[in-house]
Every structure is written in structure tokens, then in C-alpha cells.
């Protein structure tokens, strides 16, 4: 087992563990901190794949900006302990095993599917070798300019949504 693969499993484990504790934590602030953990672990995974720029953006934007905002909001709102519902026994006794089965199933078949591919096909045009920031920006602002612009509208929609849902009634 090479070092990158070892590191992958370590940080993938951290990411999954963080995600689980995000869901199961009852204090909102714990959830937020778990989310930061997930983001950081993901940044490391990106780095392992040679995507240094994305990794940096991941830390700056998610872990840095968004999560700080989350933590502030939670503190300002003074959100209490989350209530647990005891509804849907079916979801608990059937849902959890099924979800586990689904994940296992997918993982198994994906692993098999990936092995079935020749190495040349496993790497697409974008992911050939370490991606430089320059490559990325060329892709982003030339061939994928249109989706990039759409994203800005998407963010505008999200802002609008926040305004609509959170605005105080006149």
C-alpha cells in the first residue's frame, strides 16, 4: 500500500466519521464543527488527487467563510438541543439496514466497474495528471464559461431565497 492510498483511507475515514457525527450530534454547534472536519478532510482528498487549487478553495470558502457564518448564526440564535422524533418505526428498522445495503451495494459495483475499465479510460481529459490553476482557469473561463455564469445566477437565487424566507413580515 502506497502512501497516497494510505492517506486516502485515513482522510476518507475522517470525512465519513465527520459526516456521521454531523448527523448524530444533538448540539447544533457540534454539527457545525463536524462539518468543518468533513470539509477539511475533503480538501486533503482533493490535494491527494493533485487538485491543489480546488483544495485551497475548499478550505478558504467552506471551512473559512461559510462555516464561520454558520457558527455565528448558531451562536446568535442561541439554538438549543435538537428534539428527536420517534416517528416512523419503519424508517428506523427498515431504513437504516437498507441505506447501509445501498451504500455497500454501490461501493461493490463501483469497485468492480472501475476495475473493468482500462487505465486509459479511467482518466478523463480533465483529470490527466496534476491540474494546474492555469489549466483550470482556462477551462472555467473559456470552454465552461457558460455554466460558470449560470452558477452566479444560482447564487443569486439562493440569496433571494434567504431574503424571502428570513425577511420579517412588514
Amino acid at each position: 500500500m502506497t502512501l497516497p492510498i494510505l492517506l486516502f483511507f485515513v482522510f476518507a475515514g475522517i470525512a465519513v466519521g465527520g459526516a456521521l457525527s454531523l448527523i448524530f450530534a444533538r448540539e447544533p454547534i457540534h454539527s457545525a464543527l463536524a462539518l468543518i472536519l468533513v470539509m477539511v478532510a475533503l480538501a486533503v482528498l482533493y490535494l491527494l488527487m493533485g487538485a491543489g487549487f480546488i483544495s485551497a478553495v475548499q478550505i478558504i470558502v467552506y471551512a473559512g467563510a461559510i462555516m464561520v457564518l454558520f457558527v455565528f448564526v448558531i451562536m446568535l440564535l442561541n439554538a438549543g438541543v435538537e428534539n428527536r422524533t420517534q416517528h416512523s418505526i419503519m424508517a428506523r428498522w427498515l431504513g437504516i439496514p437498507l441505506a447501509v445495503f445501498l451504500i455497500g451495494d454501490l461501493a461493490y459495483w463501483m469497485a468492480r466497474g472501475a476495475h473493468a475499465l482500462p487505465l486509459a479510460e479511467r482518466s478523463g481529459s480533465l483529470a490527466a495528471g496534476p491540474v494546474s490553476t492555469q489549466d483550470l482557469s482556462l477551462h472555467l473561463f473559456q470552454s465552461y464559461l457558460f455554466p460558470f455564469e449560470i452558477t452566479s445566477i444560482l447564487i443569486l437565487i439562493a440569496v433571494l431565497g434567504a431574503v424571502v424566507l428570513a425577511r420579517r413580515e412588514p
Partner: protein, 495 residues
Amino acid sequence: MPLRADMMADLCRIAPELILCVFGILLVALEPFVPSSSKRALGWLAFSGSLVAIASLWIVARHPGPAYGGLIQVDNFSLFFHGIILGSVAVVILGSINYLCEERLQRGEYYALVLFAAAGMGVLAGAGELITSFLGLEMSSISTYILAAFRRDARKSNESALKYFILGSFATAFFLYGIAMTYGATGTTRFTGIAQALSISGPTLLAVLGLGMMLVGLGFKVVIAPFQIYAPDVYEGAPTPVTALLASAPKVAAFALMLRIFYVAFGPVQHIWFWAIWISAVLTMCAGNFAALLQTNVKRMLAYSSIAHAGYILVAFAASTELGIAAVLFYLAAYALMKIGAFTVITHVGGRGERHLELSDYAGLAKKQPAIAACFTLFLLSLLGLPATGGFMGKFYAFQAGLDSRIIWLVVIAALNSIVGAYYYLRVILTMYFREPAGESGPDAGLGSEIEWMPQPVAASIWVVLIIAALGTLYLGIFPSRVMEFALRSAASLR
């Protein structure tokens, strides 16, 4: 810097989306400066925006071909879908103006969100590549999540939006995962590229899994079984004009994407997905129709009915021929018209606070407002599939395509299902015409002044919507040739 000719052409190809976004931003910007007494004007601004976008289709039609290196594809197919989507959105905006006044929700953001959603759907209809289509999908989804929650003070609206959001995110995550797998399997996200790779390699496991995952996301958006389960709750809880939108335009746009992915990108492996669609069609029809049978809430009943209709569309989808694609297109056009018409009637009858959604509220409507009852009857008969209505022609082409491709059992099941459908549509007509209105039993029954409930007078904008939808339904039923010819040409342009 002067615009180069090719850049200009690219801009022309996305003219409707540009116009919609400009108007959307304009609405948001103007919103604080418009006094609350004249917010209604914002609705008319949004409506004119959608009209301008429709008009811009002429410009689009003059510039067929790929834009932005094939991320967007302008062909007859995308024009057809743009027509349905923009038309639906314009009509929905018109139907919302009065409703928002009634509910005291008249805000520029509402219209802006509708326009942004429309822009997203336009991207979906024209997308020639998976990432772009994903962004279009997100644009329309997020806008509609917010719109579903627009009645913030109504618990049902909040519940509906939350359910829609969580389940929608779940489905979209699968869609994104599917994109990643498809990319992994074929090395490209362009539809034509995927088709090329697949025709060389054949169906690889990863590609097939990717397709399955994308079907989860798409199935959620077009509301087919087993991903239809959220729809009744969401449709019932959302503000009725939003329900009209949800049931029409996003569904239509998602079908456009589904057609492109299944027929263009995964066209070479048609045999892989045929039975999945077949089974889903049967499940969808049955789930929609049988659940609708016992509904007494008309809004919810129509939600189930729109599930059933997705099933009929899948019959044409499964036909795997050009006639089948054209039938899907035609059906969607007819479907959007009659569904918007029906939900507009519900908006009107529902009244302030959406208090009159039960079947019993429709008792004697034929006497109180005969024209409204007549319009509703037309839409219901069209949904039922009575000849000389658009709904009939839609079913006709769909079944014809099915029989042509020798999927006879599916057609037979669909025909039987449409008999079941007759039962619940008829019940509403029966109630409107043949039942005496019961006394008011709503929350303010004790007031005594209101012995018999009367629907409010019909607003002019509601009239316009109903007339457009009714004439359109009849037009498609009596003169379907022209639309069908266009649909056939669109189907041909897809291949």
C-alpha cells in the same frame, strides 16, 4: 471590445435565458422602490418579461446549432420545449397576480424566482452536456423550493417546501453522482461524446450505474414511480399557482433532459433502459390513478392525476421511436395547458387562504359560476382523454406510438388505467353540476351571515389564463396536425 460575430450568435442562442435573467434582476432591483400598493405592477413586468422571452424565440430560431462549444444546443427540439416552458411560465405568472394580492404576498421576489426558474428550465431544454444541464436543474429546483415555501405563515406550505427540498436534494445528489460515474466511464460529459464512447465500448457497468443514478434524479423531477411519493404532499401544500408551475414547466423541462440523456447519450444502449421505463410506467400510472380514486381534496387529487399522466407519457417514451418522442412532446404540450388551466380554477375557487379545496366546495359551482365550471369541465375532460381535446390527442399519439413499437401490453394497461381515471375526474364534474351546494361548514360557519359559500368574482387575469388554456386545449384537440408536425421535426432533430 467589439463583440465578435460568433459571440453574438452564441448570445442569440441563449436569448430567452438572458432576457429572463435580466428581467429577474430588474424585478429584484425595483422591488424596494415600488410602493406596496402598486406591487401588482411587478407582476405585469414579469409577465411582459416572459412575453419578450417568447418573442426572442424568433431570434433563437434563426441561429440553429451549438452554442458555447456544444454546451447548449439550439435545434427544433429545444425550440419546442422553450415554447412550452415559456408559455407555461407566462400563463402561471398571469394566474399568480391576483392570488398574491389575495394572500398579501405580492412581492417582486416571487416573480423573479419564477423567471429564474424558467431560465433554468430553458437551460435544461437546450443543454448539450451534463454539467450545464445539472446547473439548469439546480436553478429551476432551488427556485421552486423557495416558491413552494412562499406562504410562510401556512404550515402546509412550509412542510411542503421542506419535504420538497430534502427529498429533492437527495435525488439531485444521485443525479450528480450519476454524472460523475458516466464521466468516469466515458471520459466526457457531452451527450454526443457519451454516445460515441458507448457505441464503441458497449454498455460498461459504470456507465449503466451512472444511467441508473441519473434516472433517480430525473425520475424525481418528472415525478415517476417509485420517486413520485413526495409529489402529492408537495403539490398540496404549495401555493396553488406554484403547484400549477410545479406540475407543468419543471416537469416538461426535466422530460426534455431525460429525452436527451436517454435517446442521445444512452441511445446506443437502449435495450438496457427499456424495461426500467416499462415497469416505471406501469407503477406510475397505477400509483397515480388508484390513489386519486379516494381523494376528496381536489388539489391533491389533481396531484395524483399528474403522476398518472407522467405514466402515460412514459408509454410514449418507452416506444423508442421518433413517433414516440414526438408523442412525448405533444403530450407534454397538451398536459401543461390542461394542468395549468385546472390548477388556475383551483386557485380561483380556493379563495383567500386556500380554504375551499375540498370536493364539497365544488358542489353547485355550475350554478354559481357556470363559465368557471365549464372551463374546469373542459380541463377535466381533457385530462380524462375525451376526443376533441388536447388530452385525447396526447393519449392517442402516445398509444399509437406504443402500438407501433409493439409494446401492446403497456398500451393495454394504460388504456385500462384511463378508465379508472374517468371515475375521479367525473366525480368532480358530477359534483359541480349535479350536487346542490351544502351550507358553509368552514371555520366561520358560526357567523351566520354566510349561509351559502360563494366564490369570489373572477379576476380578469384569471379569465385570460383560463381562456388561453381552454382555447389551447381545444386547439390541440381539433387541429393537432401543425403541432404534431413540429413535434415530429423536433424529434428528428434530436437524433
